[in-house]
């Protein structure tokens, strides 16, 4: 743990009399709030609901795959399960996960602003997500969708008889939520930084959210118009992606992946920002190569737009196109690797403490390493053709999405929980659940690499009756049960801590960053007076040493 001095010594911690939670209690004061912190809480509740809904479908998928035959559900039902798992998890949980909750809460706090630039638009973005979510829920309840989360034409536009339209409208609508969040972040970071908060003094959390926002505003409109065209196709009853009238179904894939590859970074980059905060705070060091990590975020955002074709190596796109996409995909590994190396270098000779957030952060680095390097396997055209649409791909992107984004999200949620609620979570339970999640996650997804490499295709309710394949699938299902238990634990102890947890001091981790300089929870206006920043980011070295050095004498 952090030394007692930075926690306020032995003084009993008392909650601030006036904060954003107790300012008003009515339902209306929440549903019509323009406070970014309250909107973050609204998002938090919403996406938690969708996380467990998507998780329920994952449970059904894993149960079906316990046995080789398709015996639990009909194959048609199975198709709906994996589609709805994907649609709910990606569009209603992963895309808004870190930016809409932690980002919404922390971006103004970290730059010393009173709110986001457009508070009403911020609230609107939550309502848009809810409306889009209702459309998707309707599609789920009415009978499901079976196109896969990718909505590939012509299946989605012509052949599927499921509730494609409702789901597509839902995805279209949620896109605008993401666009508005991104727009708000960019404007806020540009125009509302506190005096002295220069670009190179911004926490890396802010840099990664800035990069994410760029993808949100540049990519999301493209998938919106693509889905709109599919919708018009169903309205006019004539297919724009239909070769029968001179169209091209591959164009759909190009437009879809032009967004959906960068969307991976919408899900991942904010998580990387969280990890940068956690690694520095719990190894008591400044970030190794701060500027490299900052620009790596922008690099990932920009290169992310140039690699979408790696999803289409088997679609019939030109082989020369595939070559270029393959090369560029390798290229995007460079900024990603910069981040991993710099986090590791930050750990080196740090005074590391293994509090819960740090456990998640260390897990993230390991999972991202495996998920990222298997991504390079998939960027190689020859190997990709071998493992295309197999469980190898499924395992790869779950290592990124679940092992990366969800770990960062949970790590960040624990780290900033005292700031969000003013209470500490129970450390013992939290560490236990982090460990359970670590074990369960690996047991779930590592066997999928193996069975995928052996050739098991994704999106099938049945697989050949082979003892090795079944053993790997049983391992995976067993792991999923452990993982599920790990996810349920925080659902118990985090709400518990809101009532029974210890009061949190302003800065329980002794961390740098403006968000720790205001009370826990912060007042509605965030700061008593606008802070003036005179220090560099991540100054974890003791202050008095800094004074002695005073930038004139050689450091160290």
């Amino acid at each position: 743990m952090i030394d007692a001095a930075s926690m306020g010594g032995d003084l009993p911690v008392v909650p601030p009399k006036d904060n954003y939670i107790n300012r008003a209690y009515s339902i209306k004061s929440w549903l019509l709030t323009k406070d970014h912190k309250r909107i973050a809480i609204l998002y938090l509740i919403t996406i938690t609901f969708f996380f467990f809904l998507g998780g329920a479908f994952a449970v059904m998928i894993r149960l079906e795959l316990l046995t080789p035959a398709s015996d639990l559900v009909q194959p048609e039902t199975y198709n709906k399960f994996f589609t709805m798992h994907g649609v709910v998890m990606i569009f209603l949980f992963l895309i808004p996960s870190v930016p809409a909750t932690l980002g919404n809460f922390l971006v103004p706090l970290m730059i010393g602003a009173k709110d986001l630039a457009f508070p009403k638009i911020n609230l609107l973005s939550w309502y848009i997500l809810v409306i889009g979510g209702i459309f998707i829920l309707y599609a789920v309840v009415a009978g499901g969708v079976d196109t896969g989360w990718t909505f590939y034409t012509p299946y989605s536009s012509t052949y599927s008889n499921t509730y494609v339209m409702a789901a597509a409208i839902g995805v279209f609508i949620t896109g605008f939520s993401s666009i508005l969040t991104g727009l708000n972040f960019i404007v806020t970071i540009h125009t509302m930084r506190a005096p002295g908060m220069t670009w190179y003094r911004l926490p890396l959390f802010i840099w990664s959210h800035y990069a994410t926002s760029l993808i949100m505003v540049l990519g999301t409109p493209v998938v919106a118009v693509t889905i709109l065209l599919v919708g018009l196709e169903r309205v006019f009853r004539v297919g724009i992606f239909d070769p029968a009238i001179g169209g091209d179904p591959i164009l759909f894939q190009h437009l879809f992946w032009f967004y959906s590859h960068p969307a991976v970074y919408i899900m991942l980059l904010p998580g990387m920002g969280v990890i940068s905060e956690l690694i520095t705070a719990f190894s008591r060091k400044n970030m190794f190569g701060y500027k490299f990590v900052a620009y790596a975020s922008l690099g990932i955002a920009i290169y992310g737009f140039l690699v979408w074709g790696h999803h289409m190596f088997t679609s019939g796109q030109s082989i020369y196109g595939s070559l270029v996409f393959s090369f560029l995909t390798y290229f995007v590994a460079i900024p990603s690797a910069i981040k991993v190396f710099n986090w590791t270098a930050t750990l080196y000779r740090g005074s590391i403490s293994y509090d819960t957030p740090m456990l998640y952060a260390l897990g993230f680095i390991g999972f991202f390493l495996i998920g990222g390097t298997t991504g390079l396997f998939l960027a190689a055209i020859g190997l990709d053709i071998h493992v295309h649409d197999t469980y190898f791909v499924v395992a790869h992107f779950h290592y990124i999405m679940v092992g990366g984004t969800v770990m960062a999200y949970l790590g960040g949620l624990h780290y900033w929980w005292p700031k969000l609620t003013g209470r500490m979570y129970p450390e013992g339970w939290a560490r236990l659940s982090a460990l359970i999640i670590f074990v369960g996650f690996n047991l779930t997804f590592f066997p999928q690499f193996v069975v995928g490499y052996m050739g098991m295709p994704r999106r099938y309710a049945a697989y050949p009756d082979d003892p090795v394949w079944q053993m790997l699938n049983v391992l995976s299902t067993a792991g999923a049960s452990i993982l599920g238990a790990g996810y349920l634990l925080p659902m118990v102890y985090l709400p518990w801590s809101m009532r029974y947890g210890k009061y949190a001091p302003s800065n329980p981790w002794g961390a740098t960053g403006l968000e720790w300089q205001t009370t826990s929870p912060p007042p509605t206006e965030n700061f008593e007076e606008t802070p003036v920043v005179t220090w560099e980011p991540y100054e974890y070295r003791p202050r008095e040493e800094k004074v002695v050095v005073n930038k004139i004498l050689p450091t160290d």
Partner: protein, 271 residues
Amino acid sequence: MAEAVHTTMEHPASAHAALQHHFENMEQQREAGTLGMWIFLVTEIMFFGGMFMAYILYRSYNADAFAAASNRLNVTMGFINTIVLICSSLTMALAVYYSQVGKRKMIVVMLILTMMLGTTFLVVKAFEYYDKYEKSEIPGRLFPSRPFNWYAEEEHGKQVTQEPARDAATERNPQAVPTGQEQKPDASFASRAEMFFFIYFAMTGIHALHMVIGIGMLIVLTIMAWRDRFSPEYHSPVELGGLYWHFVDIVWIFLFPLLYLLGAHGISGGH
């Protein structure tokens, strides 16, 4: 509102009435608004960009059919609409100018003129759409009584000359599948012309929707101007509205040549 009653962070009484609580000063508020609008316009460019991409690709696949179908659009009406929109951009720019110098009446006059020109555009567009409906040129079966029929006029005894004769062979063969390495679609001439009309309606329809939203925005601005909300110190809503209006105009400046003029055989509009 409960959130606003806290005292320590309130702006001094000298602050402008339009200054929102979370901004330090009017300059910061104006900067944020302008940047926000520009970023919004970038998302709009990406949004239309997807459709322009589809247009470019399919035009290159189906150049002959697209040229023939494009000839069935009424260039005169398209041209009139182009002039109307350019004029509306001028009146909008003047509205912004008068808001900067603080002439309330002239802002209102210019905003109303802009609205009238925008409405003129939509009326002309409606006539064009109705004409397409009459000629059975609305793609697909949106109106079951009038499904798309490229030969509707021919069947009424008129002579249509644009189609190359060779297409009669592939006519009415909608089940054609892509052949060869290049995946070149092999569809009938008429259905490839239908694709043009699909893109025409999608692009101009979404553009018209933006016009409608723009006119709604102008109504709000006019009311605000009428109530004397704007002054040389505070006029950014008019400026932001102007940015949006100009953007919608510029989209049309691209749509008009691409849809009406490119590959046109004669300025008469074909028939």
